[in-house]
Symmetry: C2
Subunit: 612 residues, 2 copies
């Protein structure tokens, strides 16, 4: 029995939490990224008219940026039609097709800058760019019915299959940056062409079987790009976190399509390692700027946290695919954790500024960059990056936010995420009405006409809930984190999850967080900001025994007020510990909304009195 993932195109968000974000994406973020890409020459690069010495020299990863943006447009115009935007993409597609070579190759960097070096440099993102173009092509065909880009990318995929799998004529065996593996599966799913699945599996199974070229800076440590051992043997998430997530997502895809139990087991191990050893409470992953990488178990430094936006998005992609392999609420729990915290923190509330890194602690007093403290992240969201992977990744994620909300598995409909929305897919005739994540009550109306097994995820954060159907207490069983029951046509189910403020502790081996707690409510992680609480946030002790005031807030949705104390300043640097404290009422805002006011301190893991 194969599961069916209800596509994001069928999920129509209302004016709830995600509906607003999706609207912001369509009206602000997509145009903002478009403007930046135009300014930097990313679109012009597809004219293949750049000459040495001119400005706007194409970069090896530009095609992937444009591709992710096109993919974002494809999802977005389904919910927010925009003929001008679609016409803009059509012109881009025309450019690509016009300049695609006879053998199917297209790469605006190599064709213009290093035409003689095609398929020579493993770390130059050539297959990565091709993969993102394939994802864009599938999405654009689904959204518009126009097959020009899809056909071009199928030709490109056929060519890549020949070069890499049949002839093995490239200078390397597997990509230095994974992406094409999962893209080929999407192409297979959309076209039914088995060869693309075969090629994806070939890339996966070849990876790590022979030494391949690494970056100099990793000192030939092949774990940087997960090619240190065959993927089926890998037990720990290593190296560059985005690369890792894209790889694991592809492994999950191939495991599903080929019913490969060994590959599934590898995916389970890696997911377990990531989510129980190497993930911030925000769902951020990849602890260090050095290599944008995973480090080791329980190493989760807060102020130098890298936790790239793209990596958190990657975790969502991996987790969604795991949900298709087996129903288990841990997968959707991880996706939820990342979506509401470490992904969204990458985007300003205004929708046009971005964080690449998402630390859990900021102190602007720390000098940034240079020889002194090279590891510290920036403190304010800029509107543009040289390396611009995260903004268009947010574009495509938000435009397609409904993806992963439902899975239909035979006669059971799994509800993984709660989101005020209607669904137009016949496999999931359901509406959700909810103020989630600010309130824990979700009303689900089943509009189908035959009885249905409905499986509602009870989030890992939820300690207490009630479930009714048509006003009566529901009879349900818990199955791997889902409350499962059969509902009749027209049933109205109400899931009401208690949502108290909860002080969360990290495992004792996370030394960084020892003696500290994160304040959460529902799926949201909260933080202290200097704008509300002054400086020296690390010294504030929340009174965990005191009642918390939850306030609605126009900008932040909801904020928390908690009685607290902090030490008074004193002369000198060290002294016998005294009890010289000053009281305050601490204000906490959702972590995902940090750094939207003046530059100031920010803190997630805080001290607490009266906790234990």
């Amino acid at each position: 029995m194969t599961p069916y993932a209800i596509p994001g195109s069928a999920i129509h968000t209302n004016n709830g939490f995600w509906g607003k974000k999706q609207h912001l994406n369509a009206t602000v973020t997509l145009p903002a990224v478009q403007a930046r890409f135009a300014e930097t020459g990313r679109f012009a690069a597809w004219d293949l008219a750049w000459q040495e010495g001119q400005e706007g020299k194409p970069h090896i990863y530009w095609d992937s940026d444009v591709a992710k943006w096109i993919e974002g447009v494809a999802y977005s115009i389904l919910h927010h039609p925009d003929p001008a935007l679609e016409a803009f993409v059509d012109r881009l597609v025309d450019k690509l097709v016009a300049h695609q070579e006879a053998d199917g190759y297209f790469n605006s960097y190599y064709q213009q800058v290093e035409p003689q070096r095609r398929w020579q440099e493993r770390q130059n993102h050539e297959l990565y760019c091709a993969g993102h173009l394939m994802e864009a092509a599938v999405a654009y065909h689904k959204a518009t019915g126009k097959d020009k880009l899809l056909k071009a990318l199928c030709r490109y995929a056929d060519y890549i299959d020949r070069v890499f799998r049949v002839e093995r004529s490239a200078a390397f065996l597997t990509p230095g940056h994974e992406e094409i593996e999962l893209a080929l599966v999407r192409l297979y799913e959309h076209t039914g062409e088995e060869r693309y699945l075969t090629l994806s599996r070939y890339f996966l199974d070849t990876r790590g079987t022979q030494p391949e070229k690494q970056y100099d800076f990793t000192k030939d440590d092949a774990s940087y790009d997960q090619s240190h051992q065959p993927v089926r043997r890998q037990r720990e998430a290593t190296g560059h976190a985005v690369r890792a997530m894209y790889l694991y997502a592809a492994m999950a895809d191939v495991a599903r399509h080929t019913e490969d139990a060994e590959l599934l087991e590898a995916c389970r191990r890696l997911f377990h390692n990531v989510t129980t050893r190497r993930m911030y409470v925000t769902g951020g992953i990849g602890s260090t700027r050095a290599g944008e990488a995973f480090t080791y178990d329980y190493d989760l430094l807060n102020d130098t946290a890298y936790a790239e936006t793209c990596a958190a998005i990657g975790l969502v992609l991996f987790a969604r695919r795991m949900s298709l392999l087996e129903p288990d609420s841990r997968y959707a729990d991880a996706a939820e954790r990342a979506l509401y915290n470490g992904v969204l923190s990458g985007l300003s509330l205004s929708g046009d500024r971005f964080f690449y890194e998402n630390p859990l602690e900021l102190d602007p007093a720390q000098p940034r960059g240079g020889w002194r403290n090279p590891l510290f992240p920036i403190t304010r969201r800029p509107s543009v990056f040289d390396c611009s992977c995260c903004p268009p990744n947010l574009n495509r994620l938000l435009a397609n936010i409904g993806e992963g909300v439902y899975t239909r598995w035979g006669d059971t409909l799994y509800v993984h995420q709660y989101m005020d929305s209607d669904c137009t897919d016949p496999a999931a005739p359901l509406t959700q009405r909810t103020a989630y994540p600010y309130e824990g009550r979700v009303t689900l109306t089943y509009t189908g006409d035959v009885p249905l097994r409905l499986a509602l995820r009870i989030p890992g954060w939820c300690r207490s809930f009630t479930l009714t159907v048509n006003g009566q207490a529901a009879a349900y069983t818990m199955e791997r984190g889902y409350a499962v029951m059969t509902v009749a046509a027209g049933a109205v189910a109400v899931l009401d999850m208690a949502m108290p403020v909860t002080y969360v502790e990290a495992h004792p081996r996370v030394g960084e967080d020892a003696g500290r707690v994160a304040v959460t409510r529902g799926p949201l992680v909260y933080c202290l900001e200097g704008a509300d609480n002054g400086r020296t946030l690390r010294d504030i002790r929340l009174d965990a025994a005191a009642p918390v005031t939850v306030e609605e807030h126009r900008t932040f949705g909801q904020i928390l007020r908690i009685p607290a104390r902090r030490r008074a300043d004193f002369d000198g640097l060290y002294r016998p510990a005294t009890g010289d404290f000053v009281s305050l009422t601490a204000t906490l805002i959702p972590y995902h909304a940090f750094a939207n006011r003046e530059e100031c301190e920010m803190l997630v893991w805080t001290l607490a009195d009266n906790l234990y």
Copy 2:
């Protein structure tokens, strides 16, 4: 009225804390460093027989290593005569003199490797090496009466004076690594030649007045070597911490000899900034490996603490000189803090292994070096370093540990440090009998024959003491941290300082230590080690309300036992905070003795219950 610093040569330690360290230095450390220098070719370099392509290529800082070791030998043989060692040094001196050029120049790197590049490269330690040779020459002359090395170095100093001050014919104005400034003052003090003092002041007053060449990696940030502004205007300790300390020490010297109030005020400001903003509780300074440098106020990370042994020694040198400028116990307090903690931690208990960095927290689970975590220090003391500045710096410090114990200021004798010892200098006819730092009782016997004003430092850590003379409560006044009284010939004064275990807090702006305390007793900072307390030390909470057991210990002198608890392990990474604890009795050892057993965790700043 000028103060007289009782020289270390007059202080004869007994078999107390420092006497044992001095003996270890003479019998183990000096020979160990000698053996390593012989192996690496540092002594052979003075044959000036190296040829391109051979092993043992001289390095720019080798002469300074050898010079510091010679200086150490000079102090050591006064207390531990060693004719073979002295003969070895005599042969080294012969080599230097034989190869000194006609104009006075000697540098084993430049003469052999880049003979055409003399005085061309500011950052190549040329004047730094010359300075250390001057210090060695003065010490060796004082110790042995042999003036061959001294004469050679006076010729060299004369030549440097001509090149840098008179002709200004070098390619740079001031040294990239300070040292010669304080060495010239020592040469002046020993020879009476005013020109050396003038040259020292010239280097100081020229520094920071014009842009000079910097290392590439500092991106031309002249604060790295304290040449970003004239030294008299500097208010914050910046850049490479050893460079900074040597500079400030020289400034204090010149301020004293020239009665320069402006320079004195600059020294006070810099001392204040270091000791109240930028110093670890161990006396370690220079928070980051990046540039081995100071960072910014209150930035005192523990696990990436650089806190170079040489920098802590430099702080001792600076503080001792400040004690000569004005009596104020803060100076000797800082020297004491560094000596008992961040200096001694650089040397293994066996005497033949060294730490360059002295972190306040170690977790061997952290990967070291490479692209992942370049900032973490090593976890075990090696016996040799490529850059070997710290071992011979420990040699000369320990051999001369009596330096800075006493200052005679007119009719007042200041006792800055407590050390079981006799003094043979007529200006300080005093014996000390004490088990300090393990006990707070010091018996001082005055063997002079006229009444004397005796000023005993009451350490900053001391909250309560009694003072008797000949068994009667003494009448004393407190003057800038010193208990001052007049004693008659033959008087026996007993200072008895209460020495309870004290939980020390850092200033609230030291975010790293917020919610944590350091455990101290007397001048000693204690730490937890994994060898006694297992892993995950950061999660251990000492019960600050419980009685502490102080135990004598054969290896560590004294250890502490404190009731404590730690959280039990749990599955997963995050959960609502519960009160699931395991009890233990924590064992703490003196910080300076960490990493003398198996590789394990170490922690200074610990959690505590029942503190506030």
